[in-house]
Structures are given as structure tokens and as C-alpha cells.
Subunit: 96 residues, 2 copies
């Protein structure tokens, strides 16, 4: 059973991430990314998709031309879990 | 200069498409697609991305696990144009 992160756990987890913010209206984290063009944005999305499939944990995301917005939350606990933090780190690593 | 579709043109265009609806709050068309899982959904998105790049006309879209929602509108005319109708037909052809 996946548990959502406790207050102290999420504070520590967020402190270790750059640019990810708690969504105002739900227990999830969000980050937006801007690229040169659609091709670059979709190339990034493809790498995120492969990572998500490997982790069996998938983003809620949208794309408009060169912009990608990713929301991470865990359906099983209806909130933010360690799986979201792991995927957020992986996503940031893709761009590092 | 790309022109947005006239009333008679958009009626005819929409009549030739299945499942695409005018967005309630903007001059755009929208359709949602459901797949077996994320892998199938992203495979579809990849084919749409290639078609969009080929047509130099890109969707506004979102994905949550096995669901993909696509909005088509044309930035250059701030509304619905023939480019959106062409891409909508291509997207439907991918699934046919």
C-alpha cells in the first residue's frame, strides 16, 4: 500500500528538488519546461515517457508547442508519494 | 496569411469529422481518446507528433495515463483554420 508523504517528508523531498511546486488545488507537484521548439519538447516527453513506464508511474502532463507542464501525484494514495519524488528527480536528470 | 474558417466552412468541415467538437470557451476543436494503457496512449501521441511536425501545425494536448485530449486551433489567425481540419483528419486516420 502506497502512503502519501507526511509533512516532514514532503518538506525534505521538495527541498531536494529544483523548480517543483506544490499544486495550489491538490496534493501534487508541478513543473513547467520550455524548449526551443516542438521537436525538442516532444523529444523530452519521449524520454520522460520511457522513464515513467520503467518506474510504472505516469505523469499528468500537457504540451503546447515548446512548453511542457508536468503534474505528479499518486493515484493509489490520492496524493503525493515517494514515487512522485523519484520520477521528479529522474525528469530533472534527463535535462541535466 | 491564414484565415479562420467562415461559418459555412466550419459547419461543412465539422460534418466531415467524427467526435470533434467546438470548444465551449474558444475558437478551437477538441477530441478525447482512450487507450488500453499509457504505452498505447503514448504510441498514439508519437504518431500524432510526427504528423504535426510534418504539417508544421501542432496540437495543444494533455495526457493522463490512458487518456489523451487534443485541442486544435491556429495561433496565426487566433481561431479555427483549415490546418486544424487537416490535422484532425490525419489524427483520425492514425486510429482507423
Amino acid at each position: 500500500m502506497i502512503q502519501s508523504l507526511r509533512h516532514d517528508e514532503r518538506s525534505r523531498a521538495l527541498a531536494g528538488l529544483s523548480g517543483w511546486k506544490i499544486c495550489p488545488d491538490r496534493d501534487a507537484i508541478e513543473k513547467s519546461f520550455t524548449f526551443k521548439d516542438f521537436s525538442q519538447a516532444f523529444a523530452f516527453m519521449t524520454r520522460v515517457a520511457l522513464a515513467a513506464e520503467r518506474q510504472d508511474h505516469h505523469p499528468e502532463w500537457s504540451n503546447v508547442y515548446n512548453r511542457v507542464t508536468i503534474i505528479l501525484s499518486t493515484h493509489d494514495c490520492n496524493g503525493l508519494s515517494g514515487k512522485d519524488i523519484t520520477l521528479a528527480h529522474t525528469i530533472d536528470t534527463i535535462l541535466s
